[in-house]
């Protein structure tokens, strides 16, 4: 199969879906400029022009409601946020309107708004340009929330989002944008609520989301060098969460490490641990470990930033820990996934 970069897969899905469905309109700040949403909106603007690919004012709050209003009249707005952190400004429209619309108006129809949020990663993005908000959005009934971790899923989940009747939040980690992978040429939907076994294993289960899926895969490689077999589960969507794939894996391995790009408290890692505790607690042979961000806002300074983000080595160390091994065991150095990235951003 041919390969695409993650960002190219998003761009291709957008164009294919917009061709198939004239109700889709793409809106975001600077989606029509020379950078085109890090290359994800360039082709759409070239093909469909400014009426369907709209450069919008800096009005995240109203635009969320505007998107819902347009959806209530049959449109399918796809709103792009160049930094997911700005989606805090869109919370009213997204949470109070989009997520609740079908329910609070008596199940007469939904408002199929899709919001993409790009999560900054590296290069000193800092406290307010690098937050991973999937647990925040995942809290609310009425939304689908997904964190594609591969180019194929970046395409397939966007295709699903643009075809279904439920509002969707897609959070894309910028650190994944240059990653290449096999992507089907046709717009094949990847369903929400179906996780993916990235790598099979028998000693420990690593459940991961977004960029941490890539790190978990590399962690599994490190562990294999020590004859430890790790199974890596990519949850793909945060809501609905594929509880079955998580529980089945933990029932098999008896050990669980959850790796997330966000904080531990009240987050995805806590949710996954709760799902396991509720459903397969008898299978656990040891404590659950959460590999998450330290409990501070994101720093800027280079060495602090490197220490801030979990990576393959910290995930592998957590696996050794739950297996009763020595988590301080020396492991070979690994280059950060985003190491090739150069500024200005």
């Amino acid at each position: 199969m041919r390969k695409l970069k993650y960002r190219e897969a998003i761009g291709e899905a957008t164009v294919q879906c917009m061709k198939a469905d004239p109700r889709i309109v793409l809106a975001g700040q600077n989606v029509d400029d020379h950078k085109g949403g890090h290359g994800t909106t360039t082709d759409a603007f070239r093909v469909f022009g400014p009426s369907r690919v709209l450069d919008i004012p800096n009005s995240e709050n109203a635009v969320a409601g505007i998107a819902v209003g347009a959806a209530s009249m049959g449109m399918r707005p796809l709103v792009v946020h160049a930094r997911a952190d700005f989606m805090f400004l869109a919370m009213d429209g997204l949470i109070n309107l989009a997520a609740k619309w079908r329910y609070m108006y008596g199940d007469k129809g939904g408002v199929p708004v899709v919001m993409r949020g790009i999560v900054g990663r590296g290069w000193g993005q800092g406290a307010t340009h690098s937050q991973n908000l999937h647990s925040v959005f995942g809290h609310f009934p009425g939304l689908y929330v997904a964190t594609p971790a591969s180019p194929a899923d970046a395409k397939g989940l966007l295709v699903s989002a643009l075809r279904n009747e439920t509002p969707v939040v897609l959070l894309e980690n910028r650190g994944l944008y240059e990653i290449e992978g096999e992507v089907p040429e046709n717009p094949e939907p990847v369903p929400f609520g179906k996780g993916r076994i990235v790598r099979t294993g028998s000693d420990v289960t690593i459940v991961a989301a977004s960029l941490m899926v890539q790190e978990a895969e590399r962690a599994a490689g490190l562990l294999a060098e020590q004859a430890i077999s790790a199974e890596v589960v990519d949850v793909r969507s945060i809501r609905p969460l594929d509880e079955a794939i998580i529980c089945t894996s933990v029932a098999k391995t008896g050990r669980l490490v959850v790796a997330d790009t966000s904080w531990a408290r009240y987050g995805l890692a806590a949710e996954v641990a709760a799902v396991v505790a509720e459903n397969v607690h008898g299978a656990l042979l040891g404590p659950v470990r959460r590999v998450t961000l330290p409990d501070s806002p994101a720093p800027v300074s280079w060495p602090l930033e490197e220490a801030f983000h979990p990576n393959a080595r910290t995930i592998a160390a957590a696996c050794l820990d739950v297996l009763g091994g020595d988590p301080t065991l020396p492991m070979r150095e690994m280059t950060d996934i985003t190491a090739g990235f150069v500024g200005p951003y």
């Binding site: 004012p57 009005s59 969320a64 409601g65 009213d92 109070n96 939904g110």
Partner: protein, 321 residues
């Protein structure tokens, strides 16, 4: 029936509905939903909705009964919604602040200030993209004009020349806070809209004939592709912000102020305007009152007999089924 009488009759209907419901709300304690009565403000909803066509749509804020009924919403479904019944317009999931009647173009009422503004701009944007000769109307209060989304949405609508009629129902109070405490002295809401480059007017919101004439002009303006239009309509809420009671003795306003506005009751004003051509208009209004009182009492009887939603359906509508 001639247009003037139709406008008056519709106002009388909304007044009767709300007066009957307010009494029952207070006495029965069975309508368990925060309810914002619009008694005294009927001319806004009636004058504007009468100017709209069947394909035009409306969104409004929490004071929703007037716009819902004026845009053709079914009375029985509204009453059932207030009683939390399965036959309610939102199946008992929305309550007074989330009335909806998509079939008649009343898309939804919203409970968070300024949401109705963004929603209507989105609908207007959709109409502009489709080239549809339709207009989106938003009803909101003076309080919503302080929200960030108000300014963002006006900016967006003006930039996109979206066919949106903004109707600011300025009743002078946000709950108990007077306008002077919330907005700069010497400024007006309608002039702020003009600052975004859109057509904008202020007029007496208790004169249904003036409201209707201005709204007709505004709707045609929008329909002709000339961009959005803003109307600030000055009016007054008689009852408390939320609930069925009078609150003129609570300290934030005076009985004299209320009385001065009751003197300018939109129904009284309209009837006086029609009396020269229709000397027996007051008797006619009295007849309508009896008719509508019975209509709402029948709707109440029916709603009470209706079933509550099944608990087994608690989750219905959270997601597409």
């Amino acid at each position: 029936m001639e247009s003037g009488k139709r406008l008056l009759r519709e106002m009388v209907r909304i007044r009767c509905v709300e007066e009957v419901l307010a009494d029952l709300y207070r006495d029965e304690q069975e309508m368990r939903t925060p309810t914002h009565f619009s008694i005294g403000q009927e001319a806004v909803a009636v004058g504007v909705c009468a100017a709209a066509g069947p394909d035009d749509v409306a969104y409004c804020g929490h004071r929703s009964h007037g716009p819902y009924l004026a845009k053709g919403g079914d009375l029985r479904a509204m009453v059932a919604e207030l009683y939390g019944k399965a036959t309610g317009c939102a199946g008992g999931r929305g309550g007074s602040v989330h009335l909806t009647s998509p079939d008649t173009g009343f898309i939804g009422a919203t409970a968070i200030l300024a949401e109705s503004i963004s929603l209507a701009v989105g609908a207007g944007w959709a109409f502009a993209l489709e080239g549809a000769p339709r207009v989106a109307i938003t009803f909101f209060g003076d309080g919503a004009a302080e929200e960030g989304a108000f300014h963002e949405a006006l900016n967006f609508a003006a930039t996109q020349r979206a066919p949106v009629l903004f109707v600011c129902e300025n009743n002078g109070y946000s709950i108990s806070s007077p306008l002077r405490a919330r907005q700069p002295y010497g400024t007006t809401i309608w002039e702020r809209a003009r600052g975004y480059g859109m057509a904008s007017r202020q007029l007496d919101g208790n004169d249904v004939f003036a409201v209707h004439a201005a709204a007709r002009e505004a709707v045609e303006w929008c329909r002709d592709g000339r961009g959005p239009y803003f109307l600030e309509l000055r009016t007054y809420r008689w009852r408390e912000h939320v609930g069925p009671n009078w609150d003129y003795d609570e300290g934030y306003r005076t009985k004299a102020e209320l009385d001065s506005w009751m003197e300018r009751c939109p129904i009284k004003v309209a009837a006086a305007g029609l009396s020269a051509a229709h000397p027996d208009i007051d008797e006619e209004v009295a007849g309508w009152r009896r008719e509508f009182r019975q209509e709402v009492l029948d709707a109440v009887t029916a709603a009470k007999a209706d079933p509550f939603p099944a608990v087994a359906d608690l989750l219905q509508g959270a997601y597409e089924s």
